[in-house]
Symmetry: C2
Amino acid sequence: MTYCLAMRLDEGLLFMSDTRTNAGLDNVSTYRKLHVFRPGDDRLFVLQSAGNLATTHEVLDQITHGLAGSGDSLATVDHLYEAALYVGELSAGVANRHRGSLGDNATATFILGGQVRGEPADILLVYPEGNYIRASDDRPFLQIGEAKYGKAWLDLAVHAGAGLRTAAKIALSSMVSTALANLSVGPPYDLGFYERDSYELLHARIEGDSPYLDRLSDAWNAQMMAAVDLLPEVEPGDITVFAPDHEVGA
Amino acid sequence: MTYCLAMRLDEGLLFMSDTRTNAGLDNVSTYRKLHVFRPGDDRLFVLQSAGNLATTHEVLDQITHGLAGSGDSLATVDHLYEAALYVGELSAGVANRHRGSLGDNATATFILGGQVRGEPADILLVYPEGNYIRASDDRPFLQIGEAKYGKAWLDLAVHAGAGLRTAAKIALSSMVSTALANLSVGPPYDLGFYERDSYELLHARIEGDSPYLDRLSDAWNAQMMAAVDLLPEVEPGDITVFAPDHEVGA
């Protein structure tokens, strides 16, 4: 599986992806799932992928091939949503070609983020069917892959006013919690920092043996254990008491 | 869906279940999923259910019917694992009878906890196929239903040395996080407190409008927001920087 997430903040965009892939528990590997395309000074695209690895590779190759040609490509689109539809069309096409042998297992889901000059930076989720949605205004983040474990924390912590550095630590703690709970998600972790109107991405990696991840885990665990003490206890007045469903002699 | 969890602590056992059931988003109802059987002074059983509601009802009726008869029942088993196998056999039998019309949708999963005199209190997870596992020694809890959202927190917080009251607030915060993230889980919440060797359960309910849940959410949210500030930021030395996959003029 995979866990990728992206956030849309006032300051810009933040992207984070794990790198673990697996075809069975005994066939685990490391692949990058965060890809960066900068086909002009007026545009930058980040593509994060979950789902069939072969499909995502074929889509990435087609995008790159498209940029070398003269037809429609990420270099020619006028809007971010057109880029999402372009990626969606490629993705649905690849999955359809392999459907005969793979069925629904050939599909992939993408987060496409970035900016085309003339419109705001944004993040979009591209479904396997080729259509897309944007992140909501109230919860300005998107997730693909193993999204459930880290979602409650994002719901609480992510808001558009957070800075990129704060967003990075929120994203990393969501990622580390997910990796603890699910073997199919693991380091190294790829991060993308995009400041709006910059058309350049700081694309960085944190390795699994990074002292940062230890510092983060220690701080997170300390904070969680402190929570156990600080949360209120249930008092007798808070509850209604029931009789058993079936009791001896009743 | 459903979210039920149980913990095995030095002091005894803690059970918690939500009460929401749904057959589609427009057919939501409230049913108890925590059931208590005390068929003798030497035994107490708590049964929590997830999966097909009709199957769980049929299993509960068969258990109750069995207690009124003279054959095998929860009143006759000598060990908790025998009770798990008994429930598993009933459950697999009911699911099989409805398989023709419902396929795999007829199955149910149970947590069976409690104590039979002569052996320690314990919790067991009964699979739809009728077999069972116990909770592990290292992570002495079990979950059924929508388990992913609240698991990371339990992994950190639950240990056998926690008292029942501490366990209750850990369980409730896992439950509240899950309900926030997933519409199919909701209040009221049923709690069971079992002190070992007591053969009696304190079975209590917390309503959705309980001031306790407000106090818990406020304390939880405050602790989480404090975590955002306390977690360490990513420093330049923590990361390796990449070039884009495709860059203008490259």
